[in-house]
């Protein structure tokens, strides 16, 4: 397969015949090893190439290890590279042999050519042999201090490799803190980026056991460090920019002007040709504005055009990845995209996975003004050569019909499908007409007329057959020959393979019997007999149940089987909104493509370096923070937005592109350009920056932000709580899923409260003294998360609370759910007052 063509082999007179290729190579290598003849490097190159080509196609050439090492005593860099590649591949399986290479690799690490130093260091660290780690520490240490940035770049990744071979060696050598120093001081941005990648991995892995590591990890998303990266973002290569942007997503700005600063700074990243950079930027924008409804919507408007451009440029694979994200946004806010529906039309040559996304988007954006055109387009696809897509197009028409008020025209289209006489079209359309009738019973006359003309013999698919039978039963009084059609189906009972169809047939026979007893009685008897004799348990049970209930009392049976039906107003969504929120939180990841949150497809240890431990026992499902309440703060901001146009110009001018997000140009903007010394002092001392809340205020003050004023202590309202309330976790979890959010708000936490909140337990005890009990808690500074519950005094009415406290912004996001919605406001006041007293008593 690979290039080792026979003809290319250098003719060697001493070549013994009959030996295998590998031992040939061994001999030839041995001859060349000691040679100093001119041109020997070229012959070595040829041989090395052959060895590596065998390696690629899976032939074991590990027996050449010794010869390869001997031959690599050369200054030819191409040869060295090939040898390193070979060694890296076989060292792990031959640790003894790997020891042979240590010597010459260590020597190369001191070579005067920086390329060779770097390459040797990389190979040394790639050996992945545990008992050789002691040899790595020295070269890595000097590599990190090397004057050449290429060597430092390699050394940083080498530290990470060492960590994966032997974490303790890496930590003991104090490499993480050296990396941290490099990250903050190195002039080469790729070195900085590699440090960031390495430290994220190392500290995330250490965080579970070491408090220091978890503090360090928190410091990565502290304000000074984030700003340090953001101010240099254009110096990073496009891939490192993605890394930085991913980190920024985790950062929680303290106020809205900070949010606008960051967005204005990143605005021009939306024009980048690399889709990964654009999506990472969009994620930052979406996350930052979650609590600012108006701006959030502006963001949607702003990102539309760049996303559409990415979808149509680039390879089909890339455009699929972007389209999946667009799909997610369309599903969340269809109204924003309702005028862009033509972009979601399918092209005949697109793969099915793209068409499927587009069909769903078309369905979602359909509204009063565009439905006619969308449905017309979808009807074109119904005749598509790609049958699965044709089916889904018909289903899409049905879904649109179910979500619209004016279904007049759509019903006609659906009925036309029934007349198209393509069996799969008929089948899909039948299922749809059935759903439509369940929602709009008033259309029964028009539909029944057409459905009645369909011969049940032309319908084979179980789902469609079941739908037809359901309609025959439900509307048997309007369909002249319903009893006879059903009867003929009963006669062929044995040929019906689908249990679903047989179940429907039983029920339809019953319904028909109550409406037209004389015509149905005998067929019903036959159906029940066949049903009771059926080998399928459910069919058997249902038939027996019908038989007994009929014998017991016919009118009771009618009330059970054929009660008057209420029209279905909304069909259940297949995916819960909590899952959808979770996916949205994981924007710009595989979750969006798979349409599943990451916990459904990854092992815990692989969720990514920045997946913070926010799982609170088993309560973690419904916690996405999307319930956005426009707070007063935001409104004030909007006013500013209108007032300070002149200042807006100023901010605009300094940036490449005028942006839609504007902000009063005040002192806080200067903090983006905070001096290096402040940053260093804050970052190099994470204890100050992240851990101790008081200290973090000191820094905030340095940056000119001021300490938020303590909120006034509120007087407790007239709601009494049960001091000994009890609720078990599973009930809590169940209730949390079922109940709607009654109240969602942001509460300021007093500086004293923030100071007292060094660990979750402190707050638990405090809240308990106010009869508010904690069921789960977790998190690390600055983010804590709690689930509380409380019960009304002498009543079993429950209040459930999710409370996320960020100590660096001194804000608590509170979501309250209540059995009794009317008192949730009272409870909220009570909760707020209890929280405000925290730290003062």
């Amino acid at each position: 397969m690979a290039p080792p063509a026979q003809s290319q082999r250098s003719p060697s007179p001493s070549q013994p015949s009959g030996k295998s290729e590998v031992s040939d190579l061994k001999l030839q290598l041995r001859q060349l090893a000691g040679s100093r003849a001119p041109g020997v490097d070229d012959s070595k190159r040829e041989l090395f190439k052959k060895v590596i080509s065998y390696m690629t196609i899976g032939i074991d050439v590990s027996s050449l290890f010794g010869e390869m090492v001997m031959c690599s005593a050369t200054s030819d860099i191409v040869l060295k590279k090939m040898c390193y590649l070979y060694v890296g591949n076989y060292a792990k399986v031959n640790p003894d042999l790997a020891l042979l290479t240590i010597n010459f690799l260590q020597r190369d690490c001191r070579d005067e050519d920086p390329m060779i130093r770097g390459l040797a260091l990389r190979s040394l660290c790639s050996l992945r042999v545990a008992n050789l780690v002691e040899y790595l520490v020295g070269p890595l240490g000097s590599g990190l201090k090397d004057s050449n940035s290429y060597v430092r770049m390699v050394a940083v990744m080498g530290v990470l490799k060492l960590y994966h071979i032997s974490a303790s060696t890496c930590i003991d050598a104090d490499f993480p803190s050296i990396l941290k120093h490099l990250m903050l001081h190195d002039s080469d941005t790729q070195v900085v980026a590699n440090c960031l990648s390495a430290l994220q991995e190392i500290w995330s892995a250490e965080a579970s056991t070491s408090e220091e590591a978890s503090r360090e990890r928190e410091a990565l998303i502290s304000k000074p460090f984030i700003y340090y990266l953001l101010n240099r973002i254009k110096e990073f290569c496009e891939w490192a920019q993605c890394l930085v942007l991913e980190l920024v997503t985790k950062y929680v700005p303290s106020d809205s002007s900070e949010i606008f600063d960051i967005m204005n700074l990143l605005e021009d990243r939306l024009q980048h040709a690399n889709g990964a950079v654009v999506l990472a930027t969009i994620r930052v924008f979406l996350q930052l504005t979650l609590s600012m409804t108006d701006v959030h919507q502006q963001v949607y408007e702003r990102i539309k055009a760049p996303l559409l451009t990415l979808v149509s440029s680039g390879s089909p694979e890339q455009s699929y990845a972007v389209l999946s994200h667009l799909h997610l946004l369309v599903m969340r806010a269809p109204y924003v995209f309702s005028s862009d529906y033509k972009h979601f039309y399918c092209q005949y040559n697109e793969p099915s996975y793209v068409k499927r996304l587009k069909l769903e988007m078309l369905t979602a954006v359909a509204n009063e003004s565009n439905t006619y055109e969308i449905v017309t387009e979808l009807c074109e696809y119904a005749a598509n050569v790609d049958i699965p897509i044709a089916r889904e197009s018909i289903r899409a028409v049905g879904k649109i019909a179910l979500q619209q008020y004016d279904v007049n025209a759509i019903v006609d289209r659906l009925l036309q499908f029934l007349e198209m006489e393509k069996d799969y079209v008929t089948a899909e359309a039948l299922v749809l007409v059935k759903d439509l009738l369940r929602k709009y019973p008033q259309w029964s006359h028009d539909c029944i007329a057409v459905v009645g003309n369909i011969s049940s013999k032309n319908v084979q698919e179980p789902k469609a057959k079941a739908a037809l039978i359901w309609m025959l039963g439900e509307y048997s009084q309007d369909m002249q020959d319903a009893p006879y059609v059903l009867e003929s189906l009963v006669e062929n009972w044995d040929e019906e393979h689908s249990a679903e169809v047989r179940l429907h047939l039983l029920t339809a026979m019953m319904k028909c019997f109550f409406k037209r007893p004389p015509e149905t009685q005998s067929a019903l008897g036959a159906a029940l007999a066949a049903g009771i004799a059926d080998f399928h348990q459910d069919v058997h049970d249902r038939a027996l149940f019908y038989y007994r209930i009929l014998r017991y009392n016919v009118s009771v049976a009618e009330r059970v089987v054929n009660p008057p039906k209420q029209a279905v107003s909304v069909f259940a969504d297949t995916q819960s909104s909590e899952i959808k929120d979770r996916i949205f939180d994981e924007f710009n990841s595989l979750s969006v493509l798979y349409q599943k949150p990451s916990y459904m497809f990854t092992d815990k240890e692989h969720r990514g370096p920045l997946e913070f431990a926010d799982e609170l026992g088993n309560l973690s499902i419904g916690e996405a923070a999307n319930n956005v309440v426009p707070t007063q703060m935001v409104e004030e901001n909007d006013k500013d937005l209108l007032l300070t146009t002149s200042e807006k110009e100023e901010t605009k001018g300094s940036r490449n592109n005028g942006s839609a997000y504007s902000v009063p140009y005040d002192g806080s903007s200067t903090s983006v350009f905070a001096s290096q010394t402040q940053i260093e002092s804050a970052v190099s001392n994470p204890t100050l920056a992240g851990h101790s809340p008081q200290a973090s205020f000191a820094i905030d003050d340095l940056l000119g932000l001021g300490i938020p004023a303590a909120p006034a202590v509120l007087s407790p309202p007239q709601l009494k709580l049960n001091t000994k309330a009890a609720l078990d976790p599973s009930t809590f979890q169940q209730k949390w899923r079922q109940l709607p959010v009654a109240l969602s708000q942001e509460i300021s936490v007093s500086p004293q409260g923030v100071a007292a909140l060094t660990a979750p337990q402190a707050l638990l005890r405090h809240m308990q003294s106010h009869s508010i009990h904690c069921i789960a808690s977790g998190g690390q500074s600055p983010n804590f998360k709690f689930f509380f519950f409380a019960q009304k005094f002498e009543e079993s009415s429950n209040y459930l609370v999710e409370c996320v406290i960020n100590t660096s912004s001194a804000k608590a996001q509170v979501k309250i759910k209540a059995d009794d919605q009317n008192t949730s406001q009272d409870f909220s006041t009570l909760f707020e007052s209890a929280l405000s007293k925290f730290g003062t008593s």
Binding site: T56, M157, H343, Y353, T602
Partner: protein, 451 residues
């Protein structure tokens, strides 16, 4: 962070395989290939570019029939990995001149060398050919370009147009020419892919242009380049991206819906005089991507008629009219049309004196195919086909057949009227006068007429 990278041939053979983190089992290439090959039992559906098997995520892009694959266990950004795979393909092409199974196999040591510098322990280091040049030492073994299927849209310049040096697009960025000296030249290609859907009455339902200004520089010493576009070019339709086919035609202005730029592009004077300035890195890269839904004159009009002609028989007439100037010639035109499922035979009748045309009835998927080598601007071509059915058709024939789709390439023509007005290279000396090639091409992306 990616765990493995590999390139598979169409038959599933490993051409290169690099394991960066040792987290994914070695058999991943086989697992991947089996999954891609047998995505759905009926073999009708293509595997998506990203899927998950037993906790391992597989990403792949197809480039000239090769599969470029990455695996990871981490929930990474899919755009990042797919973009990276595409970039790796581009870097390799920059180095080898031609990307093909053959050239990869001949140069696999060089490819390994590149891969080691592009990714370290799963993290991307650089994908810039420019930067890589200082780390990579193997010399490419150049394969004969003429025999190989070329890569990328710029490759179409190899056929037909005499003014272009055919080998240029397949020249390695790093390898020296046989003479030892490199020719100083720079290529700027304006490539537009157009999508048009005509209704059965010939009315344009949707139309879009997806354009790229692609550059490939062989200039030494990285001089600065200034590219001037149409002065009346405007971006964004003001009130958002609402489709409006009636607006602004006639005024002659070129209005782009949106565009994006390569990292190296500086837009300092773009707002003022529509000039892009950049120091082009080595290798091929898109300077600017743009998208346009402004009305344009479609290069071809398609008329199609299908009607019954007696029992179990029908006739199809397809007319294609070229609506561009007669000094322009379109090439490699293919017209396709799905026929009713119960079609058993089709006999074709071409216009008298037709040359370079071929017709075919694909029995397996009941498709009519009509290929034309070239179509000169202003001309019209007709195809008649007599169909035989195996059963009586009940419904409307137009619901059973169509739509007609068309692919073509039109060199030296672009529908958007976007132009590179001039290409200025910062002068090193008065005698420095490198070759500058500005080329236009229009290709069909999805060109469909409903019947």
């Amino acid at each position: 962070m990616i765990s493995q990278f590999f390139v598979l041939s169409q038959r599933g053979d490993n051409i290169v395989f690099r394991d960066y983190r040792g987290e994914v089992a070695k058999g991943s290439a086989e697992i991947f290939f089996r999954k891609v090959k047998f995505w759905k039992e009926d073999g009708q559906e293509e595997a998506p570019p990203v899927f998950n098997v037993d906790g391992v995520n597989y990403f792949h892009v197809k480039v000239v029939g090769l599969l470029f694959v990455a695996t990871t266990r981490v929930n990474v950004s899919p755009s990042l990995v797919l973009e990276l795979l595409q970039r790796i393909a581009r870097v390799i092409k920059d180095y080898l001149g031609v990307l093909s199974e053959d050239s990869l196999r001949k140069n696999f040591v060089l490819v390994y060398e590149l891969l080691d510098e592009v990714i370290d322990f799963g993290y991307v280091q650089t994908t810039s050919t420019e930067v890589l040049k200082s780390y990579v030492f193997n010399e490419p073994i150049v394969v004969d370009a003429a025999r190989l299927q070329p890569l990328g849209p710029a490759a179409i310049f190899m056929q037909g147009t005499k003014r272009m040096p055919g080998t240029a697009v397949t020249k390695s960025v790093v390898a020296n020419e046989p003479g030892g000296r490199k020719r100083e030249e720079v290529f700027v290609d304006i490539i537009e892919k157009i999508s048009v859907t005509f209704s059965s009455s010939g009315y344009i339902l949707t139309s879009e242009i997806d354009g790229t200004i692609q550059m490939k520089s062989y200039l030494s010493g990285n001089p600065e380049i200034r590219l001037a576009l149409n002065e009346d070019l405007s971006i964004g339709t003001g009130g958002g991206t609402v489709y409006d086919y009636r607006s602004s035609s006639g005024s002659g202005a070129v209005i782009l819906d949106d565009c994006n730029f390569h990292e190296s592009v500086r837009l300092d004077s773009f707002d003022m005089d529509r000039t892009l300035s950049l120091v082009p890195p080595d290798g091929e890269f898109p300077v600017m991507n743009y998208r346009m839904t402004q009305e344009f004159k479609p290069p071809f009009r398609i008329n199609c008629l299908i009607e019954e002609a007696g029992q179990l028989k029908a006739e199809v007439i397809i007319k294609v009219r070229a609506e561009f100037p007669s000094n322009i010639t379109a090439n490699t035109i293919a017209v396709q049309m799905p026929l009713p499922k119960y079609t058993t035979r089709a006999s074709f009748e071409l216009e008298p004196g037709a040359v370079g045309q071929r017709t075919d009835f694909k029995e397996a998927n009941k498709k009519l195919e009509w290929g034309l080598k070239k179509i000169v601007g202003g001309s019209e071509h007709t195809l008649r086909a007599k169909l035989t059915f195996s059963q009586e058709s009940h419904a409307n024939l137009t619901k059973e057949a169509g739509p007609v789709s068309m692919t073509f390439t039109i060199p030296m023509y672009n529908v958007s009227r976007l132009q590179v007005k001039y290409l200025q290279i910062a002068k090193k000396s008065s005698s420095y006068n490198p070759y500058r090639w500005v080329r236009y091409v229009t290709q069909a992306n999805s060109y469909v007429a409903r019947i």
